[in-house]
């Protein structure tokens, strides 16, 4: 069955003519019976979810095969997006929306006596990522398919996603997230396309038949990478690409040993050990140097992906001359940087290309995206670990480095310091391989993820590389897909927008500009506020169910949801809450409007300080929420287990969006875009993409505060948190309240780390410097929130001017500026 008759893009809410509600009902019944082996009357909600997902998958697969046939016929250049994380979340609703089947699915379920919202909740989040980097990758796949571009994601099929967060006595505890425990309807196993992944071993030095040096990689252990494809439907269903995730399997070698070596248990242990490679996602986006399993994961991804990409190319093309014309490979941060060495190995070792030719091809095919501004977060791996795990790759990296440093020396003669700074090998004890340097040396494009980030890479993070190759550096401001973050997550607002300006915004977010004249129109404002109220009530219900706290949807929902990290400054938010609480109970100054502070986010399990921040939030919440004087005025909530599906419920309900990282630390951020798109006004610093949101929406629609990145850089050496405290008694009062156990009466000294961090250790992230202006910004926001004409106008202008922050725009920029790919229709 072809689901795209005439390749026509379906209109929003209008079902494709050949797929009826009755068909869908029949398919759901059929899958319950024949795929799950149950009678319909005995089916659980999870069974119904699976049956519906399988029905939808059939349609997605039809379109995927048609898409592939189209690509085969036209042989376009394809993009391969390599990422150690894909934070997909749930797939059912977004696939239904994109295939134009949501209305039928809801009707079919209704006819079967079932409720869509209950069935939707049965789906596990595919939490195969930590945060922004992985979610960006997932948004890109949606945009690539919607834009009809041949683009695929390549990642790891982690059996356990990011941990589930459970709060016990205010502390974060972690539980495993076995998201595949009930299987998944979305994955298609491709055992015939499995590939081998060699690891460990040694180099045997020899000569080839021409007398040339011929290093032979001997005695390796072998893993098998088995691909699982997840269809990714573009909006309108015309193009369905896929995300290819690899699972590690033990090789036959291990299986045979089970039967032959006699030691059954040892053999099984080895088998299990080999399969741990794809067992679990590392719960932090910056992993401590020296973790062998993590480097193994990175090579596993790269080896499987490059093997697959080369195999596809060889099937169709006689030589590698056309490789860069047909293949673009984007490295999502340094985790897949080994692709540089792996592609070189395949071209030189396996296909006998001269080094220079192979290097030209590699550089032309690869692009590298940097995601951090913090030098300490850049990956480095010990040389001795490399030598043990990937001996041939280390040889290749040495060769790359030797040639690269010769180039640098020729360009900057006599500059030995520069050579040491730029070398791919850091000559410390232990010696380290700098993965960012490898990625930059091997890529034709090096991009940041916001305008500010792009500039800071050039000036601060990699100035030597910029001096060598200025033409390679560029920035591509991140974006998010409006199909998930507005159409799916906020049906009330999506329907209002479509009623007002039509549905063009779903594929062209710039069309939201047409809402600008509506910002002060009473009727539109009322409809917007009604939708916001609906979303807030929905969230209040969820909060009630998960935390037992009753929140007031009439209060300002002030939302701070994201990874808990020092530079993101959840602590600054807490300091402000304490200030506001003290102003209320000690000064008798209530906030201009009742406020509900909503937090959510996970801290890395090993990040003690940030787990303490979670505890502090809970303890402050316990005091504030129990204090009768704050009743109806202030409330603090921490919603546990932040994940994509929870974000979809929280973000549309937000009035105020907290984007308060220390200026110069957040590369871009994407949460800030999701909030603006959903009509929350930002309180934020001049950091990352906040600056671009500020430029779009205007200072009058954004509560900006705090030092700039330049000011912070200039003050870094002379900054004194004690001076800040001396200047402003509010700061002292806040710190004193925490230090004097006001929020830890049962455990005195529990939060003594706050004063230690902010006073004794120098307040690295400038909390105290920014707190006064943050307090003023909050006062402005709270005062405006009580104005029921001005506030909705600001919120609506945020929506109307969020068009630039669609990942469709971002992907178009990558396609034109880096990948050189085009729509294939």
């Amino acid at each position: 069955m072809c689901i795209t008759p005439g390749r026509k893009r379906w209109l929003l809410f209008s079902p494709p003519p050949d797929v009826g509600v009755t068909d869908m009902e029949d398919q759901i019944r059929g899958h319950v019976r024949y795929s799950l082996g149950k009678s319909f009357s005995g089916a659980t909600p999870r069974d119904i979810f699976t049956a519906l997902a399988l029905s939808v998958r059939e349609r997605a697969v039809d379109a995927m095969l048609e898409t592939e046939a189209r690509y085969q016929a036209r042989d376009p250049k394809r993009l391969y997006y390599l990422s150690i994380e894909f934070l997909i979340g749930r797939s059912l609703a977004s696939t239904l929306w994109n295939l134009g089947l949501m209305a039928q699915a809801q009707k079919a379920l209704s006819n079967l006596g079932l409720d869509w919202s209950r069935i939707e909740e049965m789906e596990e989040d595919a939490a195969l990522g930590n945060g922004g980097l992985g979610r960006l990758a997932a948004c890109f796949l949606d945009s690539l398919a919607t834009l009809d571009m041949p683009g695929y994601g390549y990642g790891i099929n982690y059996e356990y996603g990011l941990f589930r967060q459970v709060i016990e006595d205010g502390y974060q505890t972690e539980r495993p997230d076995h998201w595949l425990a009930h299987g998944t309807a979305w994955q298609i196993e491709r055992p015939a396309e499995a590939c081998i992944v060699p690891l460990y071993g040694r180099i045997e030095h020899g000569l080839d038949r021409h007398g040339q040096y011929n290093p032979m990689w001997m005695d390796w252990k072998m893993l098998i990478g088995v691909p699982f494809d997840m269809p990714v439907a573009g909006y309108g269903g015309r193009t369905v690409n896929y995300l290819r995730l690899f699972s590690a399997r033990s090789s036959q070698e291990f299986d045979i040993r089970i039967f032959n070596a006699g030691d059954y248990f040892q053999a099984v242990e080895q088998k299990i050990a080999s399969e741990t490679v794809s067992k679990v996602l590392y719960p932090s986006d910056s992993v401590r140097t020296g973790m062998e399993l993590r480097l193994t994961q990175e090579y596993f991804l790269v080896a499987c992906a490059i093997r697959d990409i080369v195999r596809r190319h060889e099937k169709r093309h006689e030589s590698f001359d056309s490789f860069p014309d047909k293949v673009a490979i984007q490295l999502n941060d340094t985790h897949p940087a080994l692709a540089v060495a792996e592609l070189m190995r395949i071209l030189v070792d396996e296909n006998d290309l001269p080094w220079e030719k192979a290097w030209e091809i590699t550089q032309a095919a690869l692009g590298f995206t940097n995601h951090t501004l913090m030098p300490e977060a850049l990956e480095k791996w010990p040389v001795d670990l490399f030598e043990r795990l990937l001996p041939r790759h280390l040889q290749i990296i040495y060769e790359i480095n030797d040639r690269f440093l010769s180039l640098v020396a020729a360009r900057f003669p006599g500059d030995q310091d520069r050579l040491a700074r730029m070398s791919i090998i850091e000559e410390n004890q232990p010696r380290l391989v700098r993965m960012a340097h490898l990625a930059m040396a091997g890529s034709h494009s090096i991009n940041g993820v916001s305008a500010m980030h792009g500039e800071l890479i050039k000036s601060s993070l990699a100035p030597d590389f910029y001096a060598l190759w200025p033409q390679r550096f560029n920035s591509k401001t991140n974006g998010v897909t409006q199909r998930r973050w507005l159409l799916k997550a906020n049906p009330a607002l999506a329907a209002l927008i479509t009623r007002t300006i039509g549905n063009g915004w779903i594929t062209d977010l710039e069309k939201l500009r047409e809402l600008d004249p509506q910002a002060e129109t009473p009727g539109f404002q009322e409809a917007f506020l009604a939708g916001k109220r609906f979303n807030k009530e929905r969230l209040a219900k969820l909060i009630r169910e998960t935390t037992r706290l009753k929140t007031d949807p009439a209060s300002m929902f002030d939302v701070h949801v994201k990874r808990i990290h020092a530079y993101k400054r959840q602590l600054l938010n807490v300091l402000h809450i304490v200030h506001q609480y003290l102003a209320l109970v000690e000064d008798g100054v209530p906030p201009p409007m009742p406020k509900t502070y909503i937090f959510a986010g996970k801290a890395a399990p090993g990040y003690w300080l940030m787990k303490q921040v979670i505890k502090l939030i809970h303890n402050v919440a316990a005091v504030v929420n129990k204090d009768k004087r704050a009743d109806g005025l202030l409330q603090v909530v921490f919603v546990p287990d932040y994940r994509v599906s929870l974000a979809e419920a929280i973000i549309p309900a937000a009035d105020l969006s907290e984007q308060i990282s220390t200026a110069g630390t957040e590369a871009s951020g994407t949460g800030n875009m999701k909030f603006a798109m959903n009509g929350a006004v930002t309180i934020g610093t001049r950091d990352g993409a906040n600056l671009e949101i500020l430029a779009e929406v205007g200072e009058e629609n954004f509560f900006v505060f705090g030092l700039t990145a330049g000011q912070i850089a200039r003050q870094r050496d002379s900054y004194s948190s004690r001076e800040q405290i001396a200047k402003d008694s509010r700061l002292w009062r806040v710190l004193d309240a925490i230090q004097s156990n006001r929020f830890s009466s049962a455990e005195p000294g529990l939060f003594s780390w706050v004063a230690r961090l902010l006073v004794e250790e120098g307040d690295h992230y400038f909390h105290l410097a920014d707190l006064p202006s943050y307090i003023e910004a909050h006062q402005r926001a709270a005062a405006l929130f009580s104005d029921n004409r001005l506030w909705p106008a600001m919120a609506i202008r945020n929506i109307a001017r969020a068009g630039r922050f669609s990942s469709d725009r971002t992907v178009r920029e990558y396609a034109a500026g880096i990948w050189n790919i085009a729509p294939c229709v």
Binding site: C195, I196, P198, G201, G206, L207, D208, R209, Q212, N214, P215, M216, W217, M218, D219, W220, K221, M222, S251, Q252, E253, I256, R257, F259, N260, D349, E350, N351, D352
Partner: protein
């Protein structure tokens, strides 16, 4: 392990038995083939039955190559499956050993060289 050999025009063809050459049987293979190699100058290793070779199995093939080299002999391979070829190229054996698609092509190569 029972190894079949054939003599064709002064060339010894050794058929690697079974579908796997790996950690479970590479030692036995080396033992069995050692005497045959010692008595031969021109050898074709026919691996067309082989579907899987791990690094141990490939190491056994390298052993054959080296043993013949030491005695002034020559080794050619034929019949590599895609998967075996992939592992073969990974180690860069194709840089030191002559590989042919079929036994006939390998024989022809020996004959044209002589």
């Amino acid at each position: 392990m029972y190894i079949v050999t054939e003599q064709i025009g002064g060339v010894t063809v050794i058929v690697v038995p079974g579908t796997e050459l790996d950690a479970s049987n590479y030692s036995e293979f080396k033992r069995e083939v050692s005497d045959i190699l010692a008595a031969s100058r021109k050898v074709i290793l026919d691996v067309s039955q082989l579907r899987f070779a791990d690094s141990s199995g490939l190491g056994a093939i390298l052993f054959c190559f080296k043993q013949l080299n030491e005695t002034g002999g020559q080794l050619k391979l034929c019949g590599l499956s895609d998967r075996v070829r992939m592992a073969f190229e990974l180690i860069r054996f194709h840089r030191i050993m002559d590989v042919y698609n079929t036994r006939e092509e390998a024989l022809a190569a020996f004959q044209s060289a002589s």
